[in-house]
């Protein structure tokens, strides 16, 4: 950790370990019985999940009147949580697809885990649009299917685009993830000792044979999927931002929203990946696979996207003044100085100021410090969505219809519960599937590729 020479390309995996030892290490959590710590962690997340279930049961039985939403704040925690969780997912696709296209080898150690997080985060996010309708058993009406009413969905509505964007995103992420997992299922199948395990891994590996005639097409598919996932991930948060930008509410009706939302999504997603990976590399002893160099690179991305978000905040204020639109100007004064000023300044502190510490190399390479900063970023990004949604709605054009929004206990149960839902999946994932891609990591160990001396 002393001196890093940035002019040389760093080894992705430290110390040139034998390939079989990597297999052993990555497959270990799947082959040993979970220890006490795992059960303690699982009981905590399951308790949180229990809160979620109770919150949802209250909501479905008594209706969404149990939430704090009022008139004019008709959208509140439900959409805040939705945007937050979709955003968390974006880091995974960025790492697995965009960094793949840019040939960033350091992504291999973290890609599998980040993709898994994408899937769980999008699953969590998808719950919110489904529950906020109040009668979730009628959610099928969101899709254009031939029905007895004879009507179709409204294709000019951003909310419908959302349905398509998020469900496509989930499906493509899942396919991408599974395609990446097939060779690993093959390796696990060959390692499996129990009959039951062998059947499961054989089924999921589809009988993968590590044949180069297969790898040949496999690499092409991986490239194609990465090529599709890259515009897809940009489109998803763009469309999520359209939910706001297409309306005429001051503070929402701005063209900066799509890039600003995408940057924010990547920012918060990297913070979440960072937090969870730091725990994973410590618990499973992956310090030479997920190296400090990798974490440092992630911090650099957080610095870049954090600065983009900060720029967007500043630009919103500038445009509010420069446009001369009274309602717009008022909205931004109101954000910084109005009744929700506390939320606004939490957001600015966490999102704009804290990532700037990453300019310092020592901080960038210190694991405990980056862990704390990543938590700050997560908190800040949740508050960013809260500020956007609630301040704009609670005080729009007519002062006679202003109202202060206060969340209820059910809102908080669902918020905490959504974290329980997400982390329960994460915990089960670490015990059920290899959290690092075995095939990909082995391919980037020093000496794993032909030297091409005589070619």
């Amino acid at each position: 950790m002393s001196v890093v020479d940035y002019s040389q390309e760093l080894s992705v995996v430290e110390g040139r370990p034998p390939l079989r030892s990597l297999d052993d290490l990555i497959a270990k959590p799947l082959e040993v019985k979970p220890n006490k710590k795992f059960y303690i962690a699982l009981s905590i997340t399951l308790s949180m999940l229990g809160l979620f279930v109770i919150g949802l049961a209250l909501t479905f039985w008594f209706g969404i009147g149990m939430w704090g939403n009022n008139n004019p704040v008709g959208w509140a925690f439900d959409i805040v949580n939705f945007v937050f969780w979709v955003g968390i997912g974006h880091a995974g696709t960025l790492i697995s697809a965009i960094l793949f296209l840019f040939r960033q080898k350091w992504r291999t150690g973290i890609a599998r885990f980040a993709e898994g997080m994408t899937i769980f985060a999008v699953m969590t996010a998808l719950l919110f649009p489904l529950i906020h309708v109040g009668r979730p058993w009628l959610d099928g009406w969101l899709l254009p299917y031939p029905n007895q009413h004879g009507v179709w969905t409204n294709f000019t509505s951003p909310l419908l685009w959302d349905v398509f964007a998020v469900s496509t995103y989930f499906t493509v992420s899942l396919i991408f993830w599974y395609v990446g997992l097939i060779p690993d299922f093959g390796s696990l199948r060959e390692r499996a000792t129990g009959k039951f395990k062998k059947i499961i891994y054989s089924t999921f590996s589809l009988g993968w044979r590590f044949s180069n005639r297969h790898w040949h097409h496999y690499e092409m598919v991986y490239l194609i999927l990465a090529g599709f996932a890259t515009p897809l991930v940009l489109s998803v948060h763009t469309i999520v931002s359209f939910d706001f930008a297409v309306s005429i509410i001051p503070g929402w009706h701005t063209t900066i929203f799509p890039p600003y939302f995408v940057a924010g999504a990547v920012f918060s997603g990297f913070a979440m990946v960072q937090n969870v990976l730091i725990a994973v590399r410590k618990i499973f002893n992956y310090k030479h696979i997920i190296t400090v160099d990798t974490l440092e690179k992630m911090n650099k991305i957080m610095l870049v996207t954090g600065s983009m978000v900060g720029y967007a905040y500043a630009m919103e204020f500038f445009i509010a003044w420069y446009s001369g639109v009274q309602a717009e100007t008022f909205t931004f004064f109101n954000r910084a100085l109005g009744p929700y000023a506390w939320a606004y300044w939490i957001m600015v502190t966490c999102n704009v100021i804290s990532p700037q510490l990453f300019w310092v190399k020592k901080i960038r390479r210190s694991v405990p410090v980056m862990f704390v900063i990543a938590i700050f970023v997560n908190v800040g990004m949740w508050f960013e969505r809260f500020v956007i949604v609630v301040t704009s709605l609670s005080r729009d054009f007519l002062p006679s219809s202003w109202a202060y929004y206060t969340p209820t206990y059910v809102d908080f149960m669902i918020l905490i519960g959504s974290f329980g839902f997400f982390f329960t999946w994460i915990l089960l994932f670490t015990k059920a599937l290899p959290v690092v891609s075995m095939a990909e990591v082995k391919a980037v160990v020093d000496g794993a590729q032909p030297s091409h001396k005589d070619h």
Binding site: W152, F164, P183, S187, G207, H217, I224, S235, A439
Partner: protein, 379 residues
């Protein structure tokens, strides 16, 4: 070793450089049906095996474009043809708003199609019965070794030569792989009890769950809360009102739409003098009159109004409408009979509205004139 069928000869290599060299040699010798197995894709291996570029990109292109086109056409048909609704003053076919959905459908269809094509058409997976499975060779190449396998199917295959070639390349653990007797002789029977049982179980489960959901669960709270509301339905009793009726009588003096109260009830003479037929005599009105007369009046009065009832004495025959008396009645007087009834004839107010009654009166006049035509009518 009783007559096993040979699948291939395999050799194991320790380093990526060695396997690349060996592959180049095998390829140069002209073998076609051989394969290299590596735990991860090796750079330069496709070149060594002389594999042409993968054609999967075309699948993505074709399916993606079809997906885009189908999405566009479907949205056009749904919102501009099948159920056109103007939303926000936008044109029925508003292309810019369709772009996000077109994009998503393109990505979704192309991704799914490419992956499925690769796995199931190109690779013919799932295939857990391949001879290479459950061998020491597969265990090695799945982890940290690199292997080459030359198949017996190859035209140039010759056991001794292949072994020699592999040895020359420096391969270790040169082994023959045989087909598994059981696996090649195994035939899938469609009537296997396990399979039938599985089908039955699935059918029962699906139908049971659908039945319960559609007939029971959806009628239980909270799913039925839109159906059962705190309101009084017609014919239900009420505890709020003293008379116990859920339905209320209209306020006194309420008049239903289209039915004005009749002021000459029981006063035929007053009606005859005061009421005047407001309708002109036109073909259209006479047609309405004829239609209504034929439906409501003709059963007793006969099609021509001569009192020739079709009821065969089950109801007393009325007098003819062509009598001197009726012919000299004013239009209002006839209107009064239709409205108020006369002798055994009931009121026809619930069958005919005012305009229809007047039209019937015109038609009766036409009938009377047809049977008692004047000289002038002949011209």
């Amino acid at each position: 070793m009783n007559e096993k069928i040979l699948y291939s000869y395999t050799g194991i290599f320790d380093s990526p450089d060695a396997i690349i060299k060996a592959t180049e040699k095998v390829s140069e010798k002209g073998y076609k049906k051989y394969d290299v197995h590596t735990p991860y894709p090796l750079h330069g291996m496709n070149k060594a095996m002389k594999l042409p570029p993968s054609k999967l990109g075309y699948v993505a292109l074709v399916v993606g474009l079809s997906g885009a086109l189908s999405a566009l056409l479907l949205m056009f048909w749904m919102s501009a043809v099948d159920y056109p609704v103007v939303i926000g003053g936008k044109p029925l076919f508003s292309f810019p708003a369709y772009v996000p959905v077109i994009f998503e459908v393109t990505v979704l269809s192309a991704s799914i199609a490419t992956v499925l094509t690769m796995l199931f058409i190109f690779f013919k997976l799932p295939n857990n019965k391949h001879p290479l499975h459950d061998t020491e060779y597969m265990k090695n190449v799945a982890s940290d070794k690199y292997g080459i396998s030359i198949q017996a199917e190859d035209e140039k295959f010759n056991e001794a030569e292949v072994i020699k070639l592999l040895e020359e390349c420096g391969a270790k653990n040169i082994t023959a792989i045989y087909y598994d007797e059981e696996e090649i002789n195994h035939k899938h029977k469609i009537l296997e009890p396990k399979f039938i049982g599985f089908l039955l179980f699935t059918a029962l489960l699906t139908s049971g769950v659908s039945y319960l959901t559609l007939n029971k669960i959806l009628y239980m709270p909270p799913f039925n809360w839109m159906m059962e509301q705190n309101k009084l339905n017609p014919q239900s009793t009420s505890t709020i009102f003293a008379d116990g009726f859920g339905m209320r009588n209209p306020v006194e003096g309420t008049v239903s739409r289209g039915y004005l109260p009749y002021p000459y009830k029981g006063q035929p003479e007053a009606a005859g003098t005061n009421l005047i037929n407001p309708l002109p005599v036109t073909k259209q009105i006479l047609d309405i009159g004829q239609k209504k007369f034929d439906i409501y009046c003709s059963p007793c009065h006969g099609y021509n109004g001569e009192g020739d009832s079709r009821l065969r004495g089950q109801f007393p025959n009325p007098p003819s409408l062509h009598s001197e008396k009726v012919r000299t009645w004013s239009d209002g007087r006839i209107f009064h009979v239709i409205t108020d009834g006369q002798n055994v004839m009931p009121s026809y107010s619930s069958q005919l509205n005012a305009d229809e009654k007047w039209a019937v009166v015109h038609y009766i006049r036409a009938l009377q004139r047809a049977l008692n035509a004047k000289e002038s009518d002949l011209q």
